[in-house]
Amino acid sequence: MTKSRYRTFASALAVGASLFATQGWAQSDITIAMQLEPPHLDPTSAAAQAIDSVVYANVFQGLTRFMGDGSIVPSLAASWDISEDGKTYTFKLHDGVTFHDGTTMDAEDVKFSLDRARAEDSANAQKALFAGIETVEAVDPLTVRITLKEPNGNFLFNLAWGDAVIVAPESIENIKTSPVGTGPYTFAEWVQGDRVVLQRNPDYWGEQPALEKATFKFISDPTAAFAAVMAEDVDVFTGFPAPENLPQFEADPRFQVLVGSTEGETILSTNNKQPPFDDVRVRKAMAHAIDRQAIIDGAMFGYGTPIGTHFAPHHPAYVDLTGNSAYDPEQAKALLAEAGFPDGFETTLHLPPPSYARRGGEIIAAQLAEVGIKAEIINVEWAQWLETVFKGKDYGLTIVSHTEPMDIGIYARPDYYFQYDNPEFQKLMETLNATTDEAKRTELLQQAQRIIAEDYVNGYLFQLAALSVAKAGVQGLWVNAPTAATDLAAISWSE
């Protein structure tokens, strides 16, 4: 009798325990923190990555999309055909897709979205993505035909950007404050300065995601970020701003740390038209004067991958050219002497606010001083950087992370702020754009990487790391950041 009673008690306990376990299993909401708050929620009319971090693939979808590994897969387009000459793309859209306001998503919406992005008065921050489009036609409600002026091997990639998502004419007016898309999550609430809340879309055309509700919190101060994760106020912090605290999280079983790669090539941008930087020997000397690993250790607490050209190391077409600019101060001095600067020279080093620039800049200035180059550090805010450095081209050196994916094409723009003008490279980029064959494209991309590495256009420093901290039970987070996004549909709780 006593025994059986004991057994009943034990099984009751077990039931209780399993109830608790089920409760843990059933956690269906998540709080994700990031540093910057989106200025508004329309990914098609601003450059702010924070917008994509909240809405990309969650609220808004495009014809194609990025996956966590950087691959491009169909999204609203179920399939497509590319004509023989590479100029006509015919997209078949998914059937039964509706916007969050109940209206149907069809070919007319695609036409509206793409025409709006490339229109004369368009405020799209990446208008160049759509520049090659000749016409967009809605053939029937589920078929869209896009004709290009020239074949473009990057076209499906371009359509995956957050700036190319499909929006509806019915809801475009208030898109900035109440976004209406086709994605698995609907916009629920935005308390400005604090949080954005997304809710699972019960009418989603695809598979229902695991999480019911997601709250995005915006915590800009690194110390506050550390405290918020430590106190378990947030479940995930993407783009964690205090790399010095990561070992502490790694050692704590409550948390997991994800270290991946971004599309951010961090470079010592050099004004190629301003003497003495118009001399390739000077640029080469600087490349050899820089100790990349020391910068990564000192400025990024060891997180980051050294690069020797302007290309992401995780990309299949990447060539490791770090050997070209190996740390060798003696050679740097010899090159400077050869170029006519045996005692070095003076220049300016403009540093925008991110810590990679401010902390990295101090180290680079010290390393350049070793070989006689005196770089005067000038700290600037982003708006000022855009004005003087980017637009005004009034600078010697600056440090910036170029976060756009696959942006080696900027070296083909002679009016771009580092003013590199090489007809051979420009021709190569034209050929690349017109090439759709993958193997051929890889070869051309590798050639391009070599040209800019051997011309020492800029000091190639390191690939910016993607750092996230999450509670141990969160799974499905992107480790790498091929584009700014928080793919909620992939995230779930284990336990």
Binding site: A47, K176, Q192
Partner: protein, 315 residues
Amino acid sequence: MLRYALKRLISLVLSLAVASVVIFAVIEVAPGDPASFMLGVNAQPDTLAALRAELGLDVPRLERYFTWVGGMLTGDFGTSYTYRTPVSTMIADRMWVSLPLALYALTLSTAIAFPAGIYAASRRGRPGDIAVMGATQLGIAVPNFWFAMMLVLIFAINLRLFNAGGFAGWENGIWAGLHSLTLPAIALALPQAAILARVMRSALLDILGEDFMRTARAKGLSSRQALWRHGVRNALIPVLTIIGLQFSFLLAGAIIIEQVFYLPGLGRLVFQAISSRDLIVVESVVMLLVFAVITVNFLVDLAYAAVDPRLRSRT
């Protein structure tokens, strides 16, 4: 009295007008174009022009100034460049955090400072006084953001009594809202309390040496009764002046504390607006704060005049 008030009012309007010119000029002259900030490095010239037109930035500066001032006179603060919502609603939303926070901190600091200051004055030169003065010295010396971090470390991370930051929102009840403002309010209040306690103590000590205090004692009041009935009441005048000053400081100066606790208040709004070149928001919030300070001064001037008739005739 009416003449005096009118004069003060004219000087108030003039100060506001001058302030609006200075604020507009300083903020507009600083380099950085809001449109190119929003569109980033890949923006094309025609896109930039389109956005500038949309934001009304293509209008000459002088015209924009008058539109801005004219709008403010009718309660229209314009529309934020980045958020695209009316600035007045943004400010109103943030006020619901900043104003209660300032009041909460002020209440705490007064509640701490009054007893501490009175106690120290009544124990002048004795260990109790020295201990309180030592503590206030420390309170003034410790930067409030560091103190805030310590509070988070102890009460949020170790003891788990509070959240590390964020604001629960008044819609979840007054208690939830106050709870999330408690740590920031303490962090803001302590340095203020330290100052206030010292002012309270020295004001009291001054008064304790006055003749009427001796008279009060001679009448047969105990030293405690004399202190409360005549001392504290008279010491309130300088203390209230300090409290007034502290309130405007708490309202405008919580920028760092709002960052540390990521509270959606006015300070954070200004901070974000400055870094994103949301000029219209910066201009309007700064103008509003100037307006608040000048108005408080105006009211204080009037109050002085009401108390002290000599002021009226002299001006």
